[in-house]
């Protein structure tokens, strides 16, 4: 156990960072995925290959990018091409992981980031499908990063704008999405979730330190699968926190 205090974002970043497999290609979006990728590159995944949608591949991330097209996304990179190159690389099966966000998520890992309420007369207009739809369609595995509450973890999202497992087993394939792809994890402010390989429904994997299973269930608007063994995520280590605070986000944009 760490005796340090840390923010929810710091914890999510650390939990997400530990999911990066070393030497894998990862589609990195703005925000927490960038911090997680930098942390992973400095700890357990030094050979991580970050891919940023507007063309940067294989950057050495010395400073935190604040935009997916910034020069920091191709700093000392392998290649700096365009959005077609990265999206088509993903469509061709070359991107192992993708990180996603959204305003709502459902039990099958479908995400909504376009509208709350009726599409043509929305109560809230969200940013749009963005690259998330492409990432969720083509990357082999995706990880969603979410605030955890019942307004976001809903039985049915108002729209599906990034595909998870859609309506369940076989639905992605039936829709024409590439074979053997789909959501792997959800990292939230309360817990780490994965997906049951049979039902394709979201399943609790680990609660964050100090969070009970009941709290997670109360903050989830649908029936979350609970396995026999629920792990507890390791808190940020002192070294992780130091890297985050001193090297990765010294301006505290996110943490």
């Amino acid at each position: 156990m760490s005796d340090q205090t840390y923010s929810k974002n710091e914890l999510m970043i650390c939990v997400a960072a530990r999911l990066f497999e070393d030497g894998a290609t990862c589609f990195i979006g703005t925000g927490i995925p960038m911090l997680a990728a930098m942390l992973a590159a400095k700890t357990t995944a030094p050979n991580l290959v970050p891919v940023f949608e507007f063309g940067g591949t294989g950057a050495i991330m010395e400073e935190l990018p604040r935009a997916v097209g910034e020069a920091r996304t191709w700093h000392k990179g392998i290649s700096a091409l365009g959005i077609c190159d990265t999206m088509e690389t993903a469509q061709r099966g070359f991107i192992d992981y993708g990180f996603l966000g959204g305003a709502q998520i459902d039990p099958y890992g479908n995400l909504n980031s376009i509208t709350i309420g009726e599409h043509d007369h929305p109560r809230a207009r969200l940013p749009g499908s963005g690259g998330g739809n492409d990432v969720g369609s083509h990357c082999w595995q995706t990880v969603a990063i979410m605030q955890h509450d019942a307004r976001r973890f809903v039985p049915k999202t108002d729209c599906v704008t990034t595909p998870g497992y859609l309506t369940g087993p076989g639905a992605r394939e039936a829709a024409g999405l590439p074979r053997n792809t789909g959501p792997a994890y959800v990292v939230s402010t309360l817990a780490l979730m994965d997906f049951d390989p049979e039902s394709r429904r979201m399943r609790l994997k680990a609660t964050h330190p100090g969070v009970s299973v009941e709290e997670v269930l109360a903050a989830t608007g649908f029936e979350l699968l609970i396995p026999e063994q629920v792990e507890i995520t390791a808190p940020p280590s002192a070294e992780e926190l130091r890297l985050l605070r001193e090297e990765i986000d010294p301006e505290r944009l996110y943490i």
Binding site: I83, I114, G176
Partner: protein
């Protein structure tokens, strides 16, 4: 090869490839003509009320900010706008210029959702949002750039993004998989900011090319703003860097710091406080108007804008630039 599904979204910019070809034959000179002009002249000649318009890359990176501000200054209205943006589209939304959107992502990146977008859409001022993914909107331009009516993709399948788009799902006649066909997108006007161009419009870019190649080939009018105007000999020395040849270009606007407050790789970095100023001011319609008054309406052109920002601030951005060691 039946149509298995059709998005219900409006094709807000219908196209005719033979008409586009005829335009490219008759309206785009192959002669080397000096196309340098002020941003006022470029915008007033080529941008018009109701046109379908797009800006390249993202509001904080190599974006045509000086041109985007000039569009606001001239109050071009009822714009139908192509997709993805940060500051540049936010300014247009806040100024009430946008009528319809082929939307992929409009937001403030690090700083979250766009209040200007929310106000404009939730109030009904933006009449229509047709949804696409970032990949899809670029492939739509790529289709036009290739001179073909559509491109297939495996994006968007199975989602409401497809339902609210104008894409169509078919079965591939070669292997039987399902693909979404994305209709070509031929813009009336495109705005692109580059590192250097000659007076004829031959353009070169450093670093990522975003979707400059595709957009430049998918529009009827192309306004280029450039950090630097270089002699043609310099272009001809490295023809393998010319991502946009002159015959695609209608106007060349010399715009140093044209992407400010965003960055321009190897020339200047972004001005974070200036970006945050918009993030804060855009939260309410009133503050957003105040921002527009100060930074757009009360300056007559990009030159005056830069004076308002001041040499010291710009110099600080230069120091923060990405460098080639």
């Amino acid at each position: 090869m039946d149509i298995l599904q059709s998005g219900t979204g409006e094709l807000i910019q219908p196209f005719d490839l033979d008409e586009f070809r005829e335009w490219n034959r008759t309206q785009k000179s192959r002669k080397l003509i000096d196309k340098r002009m002020s941003e006022q002249e470029a915008v007033s000649r080529f941008v018009y009320d109701g046109c379908y318009i797009g800006t390249e890359l993202y509001g904080t990176v190599r974006a045509p900010m000086s041109l985007a501000r000039e569009v606001v200054r001239q109050g071009k209205k009822d714009l139908r706008v192509c997709g993805q943006g940060v500051l540049e589209l936010d300014l247009w939304l806040a100024a009430g210029l946008v009528k319809k959107l082929d939307i992929t992502y409009i937001g403030l990146e690090v700083y979250g959702t766009s209040s200007a977008l929310r106000r404009a859409v939730e109030s009904g001022q933006v009449e229509k949002c047709v949804e696409w993914s970032n990949g899809a909107i670029t492939w739509r331009m790529k289709a036009a750039a290739m001179g073909v009516p559509f491109l297939p993709t495996r994006s968007m399948l199975g989602t409401d993004t497809l339902c609210y788009s104008a894409a169509k799902v078919v079965e591939d006649p070669f292997t039987g998989i399902k693909v979404a066909l994305l209709p070509a997108l031929v813009l009336d006007v495109a705005l692109i900011h580059v590192h250097r161009a000659d007076k004829y419009g031959n353009c070169q870019i450093e670093g990522i090319s975003g979707f400059a190649a595709e957009m430049a080939r998918a529009c009827k009018r192309l306004i280029i703003s450039t950090e630097e105007i270089v002699p043609t000999e310099e272009i001809r020395r490295y023809p393998d860097r010319t991502i946009i040849p002159y015959f695609l270009v209608d106007a060349v606007v010399h715009a140093p710091y044209g992407s400010y407050p965003g960055e321009m790789a190897y020339i200047y970095g972004r001005d974070e406080p200036a970006i945050k100023e918009w993030v804060d001011m855009s939260r309410t319609g009133e503050d957003a108007k105040e921002y527009l008054d100060k930074y757009v309406y009360s300056v007559k052109d990009h030159g005056e804008y830069l004076k308002l920002i001041g040499e010291e601030r710009l110099q600080r951005c230069v120091e923060l630039r990405e460098k080639r060691d």
